[in-house]
């Protein structure tokens, strides 16, 4: 508004961007250094690239399993949340249900709950109450998929509601008049029109599930450990393998970075419960 010279702004923003990007760059630097070089004088400039840390991570059977678990859990959770959220939004948008705005508001409050508080009750419920015979949800992928719904399902409903509300009601009413079944209307009339919104929701719920650590660390022991818990296992008091830890971090970071460009504008909308349109 005030200054006419853009160079000062650009210089300022290059500086800010440097502050944002440098820590991420540093992560990469550490991940491509052999352990011996790490403890010499910290060096900002990369002189040689050492890929062994990445190869070690990929060759580690446990970590490969964790990666697979992470993939299955986040994909399953994203698909489940987007599907259920889509149905729920359709119901909230098209039907005259009593108290539906209260229901909508209540679903959102689920996302605000601090996860640390729910560690103990979820752990107890999963070991003591939610079990059929010998099968308990603890330490299973399906259990984690369901638990992640507590924060991802409200998010999916929140982001999908405007999309579904935006589809003209006349379209599905016309289809109903033509004698289409409700299932057909949802899958063949509404669903194709919602595709962009559904894609964004799917991606973001996937990333949130992929990023989650606290619940995964407490509600799994062995079978359903995710990559983020694998990362914390590499930080021990007896001596952390810094290079490996950095390499795992990079692996965990990659999916988020890939989708970042696509969903950038929606992140803020999602994180602020829609208070701000990004």
């Amino acid at each position: 508004m005030r200054r006419k010279n853009p160079w000062l702004s650009i210089l300022f923003w290059i500086f800010i961007s440097f502050l944002t990007l440098f820590p991420i760059y540093w992560l990469f630097v550490v991940s491509v250094k052999p352990a011996v070089e790490l403890f010499s004088t910290p060096d900002v400039i990369l002189r040689s690239v050492y890929w062994q840390n990445y190869i070690d991570v990929l060759n580690d059977r446990t970590l490969r399993e964790y990666m697979l678990n992470s993939l299955i859990i986040s994909t399953g959770n994203a698909l489940l949340c987007t599907t259920l959220g889509f149905f729920a939004c359709y119901a909230l948008s098209r039907f005259d249900l009593s108290g539906k705005e209260s229901i909508f508001f209540w679903t959102i409050t689920n996302r605000m709950a601090p996860p640390a508080v729910f560690l103990l009750p979820l752990f107890l419920l999963m070991t003591q109450v939610y079990r059929i015979g010998d099968f308990s949800l603890l330490d299973t992928r399906i259990g984690m998929i369901l638990v992640y719904c507590t924060f991802n399902l409200p998010f999916a409903i929140w982001t999908l509601r405007p999309t579904v509300d935006g589809i003209p009601k006349e379209l599905d009413e016309a289809a109903f008049v033509d004698g289409a079944s409700p299932w057909k209307v949802i899958t063949e009339v509404v669903f194709p029109l919602c595709r962009p919104g559904l894609a964004v929701t799917l991606i973001l719920t996937w990333v949130f599930a992929w990023n989650e650590y606290l619940l995964a660390a407490t509600l799994t022991n062995f079978n359903a450990r995710t990559l983020t818990t694998g990362l914390s296992e590499y930080v021990t008091t007896t001596g952390t393998e810094w290079g490996i830890m950095a390499a795992i971090s990079v692996f965990t970071l990659i999916p988020a970075l890939i989708v970042f460009g696509m969903v950038q504008r929606h992140i803020v909308t999602g994180l602020t419960f829609g208070a701000v349109k990004g």
Binding site: I16, T20, L38, F87
Partner: protein, 292 residues
């Protein structure tokens, strides 16, 4: 409209999942909090013991200390984020080439997993590996050791939180600033108001709802910060960075004293709900009075 039954049918799975993993745990934790329950104690059964768990909690020095440091952390982190976020938002109000790219870069930390942020800052600040202690040492001769100095560890967790979450504040405030009408500012300039007067009397009141909303969201998030701190300092040194979430994860959950742990969880939940509600009221109150 079509039958309501179909609507409820479509809503049912969502409500069922949120009921089982949201509502039931909420009431279950309150229920357990009123019991003595330790499966590895002499009596592993669940025994109702009234409010005894809460009697213990209010004298639990470790828990009270963690509440104290949490409040300090939230205060410093959210305040710093607000100030920096506001300045950056103002800087974004000008037009300059490459604005979109800088904005994208600035948004980047938001999508990163908290635990990765923790691991990044651990690699940045661990003595003998990190670049920050090295530079501080060679430039100022200051020995930064987050494993030993409580103050340094606390400061680094705040800096980490600021790095991670300031973009959110910036973007919410940009949205607020963009929607401001230009007239009051022009009028104030004609009347000869200086920059500080314009900020306090025009800008701030007009963006106040957005600021409150941002504080509300950041406060909620800062109160449940666990992953990054756990990764960076593990709550240490001592209990310098053992924020309530970290406290529950490290000190309460691993012990099998379920009744007591539930009582601690209930108190944290209570405080979160109260803070949340106060801010919600603070956000709605101006609107209500406006309506008259």
């Amino acid at each position: 409209m079509q039958s309501r039954k179909l609507g409820w049918l479509l809503l049912a799975p969502t409500l069922a999942v949120l009921f089982l993993f949201g509502v039931v745990p909420f009431f279950y934790v309150i229920y357990v909090a009123f019991h003595q329950w330790n499966p590895f104690a002499a009596n592993p059964e669940m025994i109702f013991n009234g409010a005894d768990n809460f009697r213990q909690v209010v004298f639990d020095a470790g828990f009270l200390a963690s509440l104290g440091v949490t409040m300090a952390f939230v205060f410093f982190a959210v305040l710093t984020e607000l100030i920096i976020g506001y300045l950056l938002a103002q800087a974004f109000m000008k037009d300059f080439p490459g604005k979109a790219i800088f904005r994208t870069i600035h948004t980047l930390p938001l999508i990163m997993a908290p635990i990765i942020v923790g691991s990044i800052w651990k690699l940045m600040t661990t003595p003998s590996i990190g670049i920050i202690p090295h530079l501080l040492d060679s430039w100022f001769g200051y020995d930064l050791n987050i494993g030993q100095s409580a103050g340094a560890a606390f400061a680094i967790t705040v800096i980490m939180d600021v790095w991670h979450w300031t973009p959110l504040v910036t973007l919410t405030l940009i949205a607020a600033l963009v929607s401001l009408p230009p007239d009051p500012f022009e009028q104030a300039q004609i009347d000869g108001a200086n920059k500080r007067q314009i900020f306090w009397h025009i800008t701030l009141p007009m963006i106040a709802p957005a600021v409150v909303a941002t504080v509300f969201i950041r406060l909620m998030d800062a109160l449940r910060t666990v992953d990054e701190v756990l990764m960076l300092t593990g709550g240490g040194p001592g209990s310098a960075t053992r924020y309530v979430g970290v406290h529950i994860f490290k000190e309460v959950f691993p012990r099998t004293n379920y009744g007591y742990g539930s009582a601690v969880s209930v108190i944290v939940l209570y405080l979160t709900i109260v803070v949340c509600w106060l801010l919600y009221v603070g956000m709605l109150a101006p609107r209500n009075t406006k309506k008259g």
